[in-house]
Symmetry: C2
Subunit: 558 residues, 2 copies
């Protein structure tokens, strides 16, 4: 087993020029816009030319409820992609871009781990190709135009108390959560209370990730509601004539980024909407492009299957007309033990009973995913302390759920460790057994959509929402937003809204604290519990240890 | 004469792959980090390998005091570079990057004009290679670390009322000038009054533009003073351990960008510090790299020669060990007329008297530049309404000043229009007549440095500064900052501090309102009058007309 760190492994990667990676998918060199020698954007023109082609098979990688023990969802996505290529399939992976802010706080690393990584790792965790900076700029241009409109006479009659559009920065900065701006007198405008969110929480990010092309993007941006008048009429971004300039700022960011795995297989890394107030999936345009170019596309969704897979199916697939052919649920022995009640410090020794006690969490996710009509395979992401008896216990349990579990060693071995998984997933995807359907119809009333998710996915007994929230949902239905899907914002640690309630709870209530309309992205956000849209830095930020070493390499980022 | 707009001309450019442009300067293709097909960064490794080479000749393009009539300083810089290449010289130009914010307000376009432009123009006015985004990120990381340090116990004893480090955004947004942050309770920190500047005003920008390499950059970033304790002791960025991570964020931004002129000649476009609270020149690393690769390097400095050339000589050249071989002062007939008292609407008809009345402004700049020991050529940037008699009047005047004036038609004709200028400038640069020396010695007391600039460059009779300012300067001298040069922040429209006082005023006083220490960049800023570090948007922002057309091209940016 390797004792090298992720960044050491990444640095030793035998990267190929990105043109060679593109050639694997028959992307002509002139259709790749290079960013250095190992990153490129795929040109809009080329993407536009792919219309007539047949789509490859779409495979979603999701997971049990995350625990501090770590599940390795991205690592497994990369490992499965490499495994499919290893067994002779033409496969690509699609993952999200990393946010810069968190890298300087607690963690870097959104590019896999061990021998299942995407490279160049440092750049992917820093500025990459500038997409998030472009999103930040487009978002903040809209913010500036709002205050500027008010400053110059407020012809649209914006109620300054009802400006819902905040600003964003790709940084963990709690001081910006809540502020009063435009102080200092007449020349600086009208003081009002507002704040900043982190860029991944921007609705511009969600718009970009759900848009089919630049025209669709501009339409969505124009539809963003930024404020209300005193009579509660919405003010749209298009009322401020902001949508054109925002689209111009995003024209390069809309082009998917191509990089490679450690095994030189193609990886699209594009978009990164928050998995709480947004849908937490990579961009539709990257997924669709990959499906035109590869026979198998492996992608992932944020958090556990109750949030990530549910939103992938009900929001991304529904809206983009995608249909998954197979779903891989990642589980680890350690995380199952934690779901079975073991504390993190006690995860080392063999404990088959704890594994079995945690399995119902996995079982619930299997059943939930199957309820979308999609076949499931469980990937046991191997960790060095796992024992054979523990692994066997999971395999036996999964069999009782009408699925199969396969042990994977990609972290340690790369694609050699996912041959069995890749073979089985390809068989299932090719079999055509998937009969995907979203969980609810577009025309179901909004509150019923929330109830359907809460009862069928979370196994809750009821949804708790006061009259104000129900009235708000009804008002949106009257305004024509009733056909939108619902984006649930809930703790990722439990099927319930209590992060400490692991396993497979039933009979709980799901309280809806607030609902928000993302008219540009095209969903209603239902907020259950606290939701953090601007993280803070820890007492000792990772930034303190990040620096260039004498060789000019980045140290401390991971 | 062409009736095409700048952007139409730029779009018709017959661009060559950036590798071919690099080859003109013998930059190996693997030492160019491409950004698309027409932009590249020159790798640090390659720059590091150039140490032993001989430097080319350095030519500064500056101007008379700017007027709304426009002087065309960047246009002339591009035209002269093309002209030198046309006459068989190996020449490169070095200009600044454009700020994103102003593009959505009043103007775009910082890439020349007519047939003397640098391309790709749209991208240079949008995200370009992401340098300004990297500077914004590095600046705001430091801001977040300051508030985070206070939040977690304030071990360094930062006086929250004396945090001088603000935040930045590359946007014109007056609402952010003055604000109270950290509202909302315990979890969001300690409320304090602060604000945002535009990114070009960031001291991080000035540090990057004056640094010789990444090591020097990190040292400068560490030296930035971010706050003071209750006992007025400075808190440095390095006390917060911010310098390493900031350097990591800037490691790509430190690599100069290579693009091309419309005539496929090499252009380095790198850095863009504000010309008021900073020194307003492109980066030292770009200039030094260009000098190693080309026989002639044409560069420019912000505003008129009283500000731009003075700072270029006294700050950039002094600190970087550069020595200009010739200076071109750009003048236009129209701007001279305005300096001679003609209103903008009356600039059309021939008016030799007005031209002559405006010439003393030009004469003063010629004498000032000569006082640095550097030979001067005047470039008359031709405009369609100029008459022969007007041009002759300028030529005759310049001759009386011991220099020569050459008519240039690069805007209309490209390099064909600057053949004469290029020939003469090359002769002068080659002649070795330049005996450059800065205006004052390092060890002159700070207040005397201000007086020297005010009296010798502005022809003021005195500097007005109250005791508080003089005491502050003395305190910095005691703390070891007395050897720093002074960066003057003054209106660009006049030699005096009154923007309406055109021509060549004498006997005026220069009031110093405030002094600031930029310990990282390495200069003292002396602020005379108002200084704007965060612009606002106009009543009808340019953003309203910016959009993609049906062909996918950017419209409305210029």
């Amino acid at each position: 087993m390797s004792h090298k760190s992720d960044i050491e492994i990444a640095r030793e990667a035998n990267k190929k020029p990105i043109q060679e990676i593109g050639a694997r998918l028959e992307i002509p060199s002139e259709s790749l816009l290079p960013y250095g020698h190992d990153k490129a954007k795929v040109s809009q023109d080329f993407i536009g030319s792919l219309g007539g082609r047949k789509d490859g098979k779409l495979i979603l990688v999701t997971a049990i409820n995350p625990t501090p023990a770590g599940e390795g969802k991205t690592t497994t996505t990369v490992g499965l992609g490499d495994g499919l290529n290893r067994i002779g399939k033409k496969a690509a992976i699609c993952i999200r871009e990393a946010s810069l802010g968190p890298c300087f706080g607690m963690k870097g690393g959104a590019a896999g781990g061990g021998y299942a990584q995407v490279v160049p790792m440092e750049e992917m965790n820093l500025h990459f190709t500038g997409d998030f900076h472009a999103i930040t700029s487009a978002h903040n241009l809209l913010s500036a135009l709002i205050d500027n409109h008010i400053y110059w006479g407020n012809e649209l009659g914006i109620d300054e108390r009802r400006v819902t559009w905040r600003r964003v920065v790709d940084m963990n900065d709690r001081a910006l959560r809540d502020m009063v701006t435009s102080l200092g007198g007449v020349a600086n405008g009208f003081p009002r209370q507002t704040g900043f969110d982190i860029t991944v929480a921007s609705e511009v990010m969600a718009c970009l990730c759900l848009a089919n092309d630049l025209g669709d993007l501009q339409r969505r941006l124009g539809n963003i509601i930024v404020a209300y008048t005193r009579t509660r009429d919405p003010i749209y971004a298009r009322d401020l004539k902001a949508d054109g300039a925002m689209t111009v700022l995003l024209k390069d960011a809309m082009q998917p980024n191509l990089v490679q795995t450690l095994e030189n297989n193609p990886a699209f890394v594009h978009g990164g909407p928050f998995a709480n107030i947004a849908h937490g999936c990579n961009s539709v345009i990257a997924t669709k492009t990959a499906l035109k170019l590869a026979d198998y596309v492996v992608t992932e969704a944020g958090f556990g299957a109750d949030l990530g897979a549910e939103k992938f199916m009900n929001i991304k697939c529904r809206k983009a007309g995608l249909s998954p052919d197979a779903v891989v649920i990642v589980a680890t022995i350690r995380a199952l033990k934690m779901n079975g009640g073991v504390a993190r410090k006690d995860l080392g020794p063999e404990n088959v009973e704890a594994v079995q006690a945690g399995c119902p969490n996995l079982g619930r996710h299997i059943a939930n995913v199957k309820s979308f009509g999609v076949p499931v395979v469980v990937a046991i992401n191997h960790f060095v302390t796992d024992t054979e008896a523990e692994v066997d216990a999971v395999k036996a349990f999964v069999e009782t759920q009408g699925a199969e579990a396969i042990l994977c060693r990609h972290w340690e071995l790369g694609s050699e460790g996912t041959e069995e998984l890749a073979t089985r997933v390809a068989e299932i995807a090719d079999s055509g057994v998937s009969q995907f359907a979203p969980l609810y119809e577009d025309d179901m009333p909004l509150f019923e959509k929330i109830e359907t998710i809460a009862k069928r996915i979370y196994h809750a007994s009821e949804v708790l929402a006061d009259k104000k929230i129900r009235d708000q949902l009804r008002q949106w239905e009257e305004q024509g937003y009733g056909t939108l899907p619902v984006c649930m914002a809930k703790t990722q640690y439990s099927f319930s809204t209590d992060p400490n309630l692991r396993g497979a709870p039933t009979g709980h209530g799901v309280p809806i604290r607030e609902v928000r309309l993302s008219a540009g992205a095209g969903f209603i956000v239902a907020i259950c519990g606290e939701i953090m849209t601007m993280p803070g830095l820890p007492r000792v930020p990772a930034a303190e240890a990040i620096m260039l070493n004498d060789a000019g390499d980045v140290e401390g980022l991971f």
